[in-house]
């Protein structure tokens, strides 16, 4: 199994898609409740697997293009088939996933095994009949959106109008129509005329969940810009600019690097957005630009390890974050296969571990604690014992229920609320 690079539930939560470093997409489907198999209530099983992207080499630019899937975004379901967008560094593809459970039998011009019949031997005509067959799930690429990004795509986001979507790379954001592949509109361009003057890059972008004219993008300097597509065709000038003031006396070599935002997500309500930087998660009220309304420390104990984390490149790890369905809780990953959940109302937080060695299937997860100094209590783990190769970068929360998907390197964990 390859390293999982993205995880995403669809709008109903019945399907869960994962993308991996090898360019494959695996879709899981939730089992329906059934009396004969009470324990498989809500279990996710493999529904479809397909190769979305292949490695490529751009000979003109001497550029190797990885097949790793950076993001998957589902489209809202409109008919029996399911549609999703998957993207690597350069190309976005629209995939149709459909079920086939019937097969036509009794063709006139060919046998059951497909061999053509001799037309002169056909003496009677018959009408082919549809017969049931074992369920087959097919994935076919319906649109390829290529050649619109010079830099590496980090985000895609489907608009609430269900007709357009945006794709963002390090310096530009493009607007596409789902039906049109030979054209896209550039809506943000932060490339400086002189590349020597480059000071920040786009790290994530997303459309507002209800206002189809509004989108946000985050930067490597820890800022978020909200743009309104009604104000101008090119949204280089933001409508709102979100930045937390920094104490200049506490500035260090690491300040800018750890302030770089790795993920930005609107709340389901559309009133808030959440950003993830290296050490914290911040919740912003869209009506207040000068500071976040809530800040949650993910692993503050790493602040005294920044030198080593810079040397082993971990300081550049891009963690994602997500909301639960009611926006009352948020989740994000950390190291040592730990992930953290914060309840916005009670202000309680919990650290859990996604690992087969430390928990049995269907067992209740035991909260973990990192010992930050002084005497280490039993069951606590010290900062120096943390495994920085076991990072949880990608997590997803079911849109309605308390079911979460956590990607730990090449393993996918699905956790649910205790069933009473």
């Amino acid at each position: 199994a390859d390293i999982i690079s993205t995880v995403e539930f669809n709008y109903s939560g019945d399907l869960l898609a994962t993308g991996d470093k090898g360019g494959r997409v695996v879709i899981f489907q939730r089992e329906q409740e059934s009396k004969s198999r009470p324990h498989s209530r809500g279990e996710y099983n493999v529904y479809s697997t397909f190769q979305s992207h292949e490695p490529e080499f751009d000979y003109l630019k001497s550029l190797e293009i990885e097949e790793k899937i950076n993001k998957i975004r589902w489209l809202p379901q409109q008919n029996a088939a399911h549609f999703l967008l998957s993207t690597n560094d350069k190309t976005i593809k629209l995939w149709k996933i459909s079920e086939r459970d019937k097969r036509a039998e009794g063709y006139n011009l060919k046998d059951e095994d497909g061999r053509l019949r001799d037309p002169f031997r056909i003496t009677a005509l018959r009408v082919p009949i549809l017969k049931p067959m074992d369920l087959m799930v097919e994935a076919s690429p319906r649109r390829i959106f290529a050649n619109a990004h010079t830099y590496h795509i980090n985000s895609i986001s489907v608009n609430s109008d269900h007709e357009t979507y945006l794709s963002a790379d390090d310096l530009r954001i493009n607007l596409w129509h789902l039906e049109i592949t030979d054209r896209s509109f550039n809506i943000v361009d932060i490339k400086p005329a002189n590349m020597e003057e480059l000071t920040e890059v786009i790290t994530a972008a997303g459309f507002h969940p209800h206002q189809c004219n509004v989108f946000v993008y985050s930067s490597s300097k820890g800022t978020i810009r909200l743009c309104d597509m009604r104000s101008s065709a090119l949204c280089d000038r933001h409508s709102k600019f979100f930045e937390e003031p920094e104490d200049p006396s506490s500035r260090s070599f690491f300040s800018e690097i750890i302030s770089s935002i790795s993920d930005v997500n609107f709340s389901h309500s559309g009133r808030y957005m959440m950003t993830r930087d290296y050490l914290s998660v911040k919740v912003w009220d869209l009506n207040m630009e000068n500071r976040p309304v809530e800040t949650y420390q993910v692993h503050e104990y790493l602040r005294s390890k920044l030198c080593s984390l810079y040397e082993n490149d971990c300081i550049f790890d891009k963690f994602e974050c997500c909301w639960n369905g009611s926006d009352s809780a948020i989740m994000t990953g950390s190291y040592n296969n730990f992930f953290r959940m914060f309840d916005r109302n009670t202000r309680r937080d919990i650290t859990l571990e996604a690992s087969r060695e430390n928990s049995k299937p269907r067992a209740v997860l035991k909260p973990r604690k990192v010992c930050t100094g002084g005497k280490r209590k039993k069951d606590e783990i010290s900062v120096d014992s943390l495994d920085f190769n076991k990072k949880i970068l990608h997590t997803a929360w079911h849109p309605v229920e308390n079911v979460i998907a956590v990607a730990a390197t090449n393993n996918l964990y699905i956790f649910q609320d205790k069933i009473n």
């Binding site: 479809s48 397909f50 190769q51 979305s52 292949e54 490695p55 490529e56 080499f57 630019k61 001497s62 550029l63 190797e64 293009i65 990885e66 560094d89 190309t91 086939r100 087959m136 799930v137 097919e138 994935a139 076919s140 690429p141 390829i144 290529a146 830099y151 590496h152 390090d170 310096l171 590349m195 020597e196 003057e197 480059l198 000071t199 920040e200 890059v201 490597s220 506490s250 260090s252 070599f253 690491f254 300040s255 800018e256 690097i257 770089s260 602040r303 005294s304 390890k305 920044l306 030198c307 810079y310 040397e311």
Partner: protein, 112 residues
């Protein structure tokens, strides 16, 4: 635990020592600067960002290629994927190493 500050210390050195105690980030910065004294003036600035934008770049030098080909006549051709940390020029991507350019439209293997 707070360090005992000697009376004779100049003000700037005293402030620096105070910083290390109260600001772990600055202490880490000092550690890094001690290990890499030539670290760039603009951290997280242009050089770092430009390196990020150039990810995936693999150049070909025909001179290096021909020299390596001559060296490799007696050795076996590498079958593993090229090591990404190798210096360009030392490792020569041969036509056999490069991945095949597949057509963009991939027919589903599940299609009937």
């Amino acid at each position: 635990s707070a360090a005992q500050l000697p009376e004779a210390c100049p003000e700037t050195l005293r402030k620096e020592m105070e910083d290390k105690v109260t600001n772990p980030e600055k202490a880490e910065e000092a550690k890094l600067k001690a290990r890499y004294p030539h670290l760039g003036q603009k951290p997280g600035g242009s050089d770092f960002l430009r390196k990020r934008l150039q990810k995936g770049q693999k150049y070909f030098d025909s001179g290096d290629y021909n020299m390596a080909k001559a060296k490799m006549k007696n050795k076996q051709l590498p079958t593993a994927a090229p090591d990404k940390t190798e210096v360009t020029g030392d490792h020569i991507p041969t036509p056999q190493d490069l991945p095949q350019r597949k057509p963009s439209l991939v027919a589903s293997k599940l299609a009937g």
